[in-house]
């Protein structure tokens, strides 16, 4: 009768599932065009950030409009580190960015976890606003408004040798970053899948659902809320680091409020608080330009007009409203809803 809750997948299953799904994703990158490879790479990086946000909002019930700021911390950390240690393997960049993202999350959590609802949103919003000006002003460290550039994540020769033909190097250099991003995302998703099923994951949901009862079963509210922030920020830092590695640059304008809101939108579209929702959110990000160009074609809007230039925001806004109205649990929720309909 209670099979569904009493037989949760063990860690071993999660590990195998992660490896299999990761392998499938890697295999797919072999048949994609170089352009699609780069899109997928961006989506993989974003899915990490979305997952971290989902953990914070969906599991701990704290809203953040500041996760783009944590991404900026990771993005700049990677750029600065990579410029000073050009031969250092990227794993160090990723690691440092994750840690510094988490540390900045801790610092913001000190005041933030004392706030609720709109006040918390307002505070993280202020953080989002502050990041770009801070980055522009700290010119000696961040390169000011021009940002920083690092070497592209070019394919190692053993990987390039897998390809032949005239475009071999182009393909290898597009696919290698995508594969790296996929592997990094897979590791991040594996850890999060474990956290979801751990006692820490439950502590977050207890605090979200009923503070008084949570305290009575021994949950330290302040500590749990802070932990949610730290992990969410660490994931944003890791995603930001990946973004710098993929684009070979970081500019302050990238990491403003707009990105924070985009993250929120993607998370809701995919489905709050789920692993697959974060994947879907990342994929939507990857192919958002395709979606917009389809809308362009269907509606006949001139993409160079003012309206056409703002079409992306409009399309996302409409999608967000429709999702909230029709499928509040996101596309993931919509999927399971349809499955139930079919079974009936």
């Amino acid at each position: 009768m209670f099979r569904t809750v009493s037989q949760r997948y063990p860690t071993g299953f999660r590990l195998v599932a992660t490896v299999v799904l990761c392998a499938v994703a890697l295999a797919i990158t072999f048949v994609l065009t170089p352009l699609d490879d780069s899109k997928l790479a961006g989506g993989a990086a974003m899915s990490i950030v979305i997952l971290g946000l989902s953990w914070l909002i969906g599991w701990s019930g704290q809203v953040s409009l500041g996760n783009a700021g944590f991404m900026a911390i990771g993005a700049y950390t990677t750029a600065i580190w990579a410029n000073h240690h050009t031969t250092s393997p990227i794993i160090w960049s990723l690691f440092l960015s994750t840690v510094l993202g988490g540390v900045s999350g801790f610092v913001l959590a000190l005041p933030a976890t004392r706030l609720r609802g709109p006040y918390l949103a307002g505070m993280t919003l202020a953080f989002s606003f502050a990041v770009a000006p801070l980055a522009i002003d700290s010119r000696s460290l961040t390169g000011g408004s021009g940002g920083l550039f690092i070497n592209f994540l070019n394919s190692p020769s053993w990987f390039a040798n897998l390809f032949s033909g005239s475009d071999a190097l182009v393909k290898a250099n597009a696919q290698w970053p995508a594969d790296v991003a996929i592997v990094v995302a897979a590791v991040a998703f594996f850890f999060m899948a474990n956290l979801f099923r751990s006692r820490t994951g439950r502590a977050l949901r207890l605090v979200r659902d009923n503070e008084v009862a949570a305290e009575l079963v021994g949950v330290n509210l302040q500590r749990t809320r802070t932990l949610a922030f730290v992990i969410s920020a660490a994931y944003a830092g890791l995603g930001g680091s990946m973004m710098t590695l993929l684009s070979g640059s970081v500019t302050p304008q990238t990491y403003g409020l707009t990105l924070s809101i985009l993250l929120l939108t993607l998370m809701v579209l995919g489905g709050i608080g789920t692993l697959s929702g974060a994947v879907i959110g990342g994929l939507i990000y990857s192919y958002s330009d395709n979606i917009v160009s389809i809308v362009n074609k269907v509606t006949g809007v001139n993409p160079t007009s003012t309206f056409g230039a703002n079409l992306k925001g409009i399309v996302f806004g409409v999608l967000l409203i429709l999702t909230m109205m029709l499928a509040p649990r996101g596309l993931v929720g919509l999927g399971s809803y349809l499955r139930r309909l079919v079974r009936r």
Partner: protein, 258 residues
């Protein structure tokens, strides 16, 4: 008045709480001994809930102490209670609405060691084995209360009487030496009341119980001792038999419209 024999699990000593000039509790003292079921009763507004909140650490008294003699500790904060083996149920049911019944009960063991974030993220055997054991233990507690059949349901989907038992099952996960029940009888029908009384008596064989209650018919046959509050003061304490003949108590109850 019979005084408790054996080791004390709770000792409330000269506790006073005032909100501004209003005294909610003045100089309140009472004890709960090991394996004793004590009822805290009194008319509306007598200070029962305030006293309960002081015991739980939700409220800090302006003077006085709440000691847990068997632990050698006093004045615990709410999140420390579970670690110390003290469980409290809430008025209403206080379940976590978006967690299944089984998870709600597992949540009762949140305070146990071995649930660190790093272990959890790495999914190490220690963490997942801990979760498996918790699951089994939660299920056996649900069975003990006869509500295991609802394990997969959400709290919103089950009858109120069942939800109250789930809340008790969750409290049992702490393996409490002291169980605090806040209005366990409220909202239950006759049959459920009788059953719930049996459950509490059974629990009283392994733990001390302090309960706050309105329903006299429910409390009287259940408890070993009663502590009666009125206007923030203890006006009587003793066996149900003694209390039912106590002039002051009768006056307090008759004098106040319920």
């Amino acid at each position: 008045m019979t005084s408790p024999t054996g080791a004390l699990t709770l000792s409330v000593e000269n506790v006073s709480v005032h909100f501004g000039g209003l005294y909610a509790l003045s100089d309140v003292s009472f004890d709960v001994a090991a394996n004793e079921i004590v009822g805290l009763i009194g008319p509306n507004g007598a200070g029962k809930t305030t006293a309960f909140n002081v015991v739980c650490g939700f409220l800090r008294p302006q003077s006085g102490t709440v000691r847990f003699p068997h632990l050698g500790r006093s004045d615990l904060r709410p999140h420390q209670l579970a670690h110390a083996g003290i469980a409290r149920t809430l008025q209403g049911v206080g379940l976590f609405e978006r967690l299944s019944v089984l998870e709600n009960v597992m949540a009762g063991a949140q305070s146990r060691p071995g649930g660190g974030v790093l272990w959890g993220a790495l999914g190490l055997p220690r963490s997942s084995r801990g979760e498996r054991l918790l699951r089994a233990e939660a299920l056996s507690n649900l069975e003990r209360l006869g509500v295991a059949g609802y394990a997969a349901s959400l709290p919103g989907e089950i009858p109120y009487g069942i939800a109250k038992k789930v809340a008790v099952a969750r409290a049992l996960m702490v393996q409490p030496s002291l169980l605090l029940l806040d209005e366990p009888a409220s909202g239950l029908d006759e049959n459920e009341l009788e059953e719930f009384a049996r459950v509490i008596i059974e629990l009283g064989t392994t733990t001390s119980v302090l309960l706050v209650e309105h329903n006299m018919d429910f409390v009287m046959p259940l408890v070993h001792r009663l502590v009666v509050l009125n206007f923030g003061q203890v006006i009587a304490a003793g066996s149900p038999e003694e209390i039912s003949h106590d002039e002051t108590v009768l006056a307090a109850y008759l004098g106040v419209d319920e």
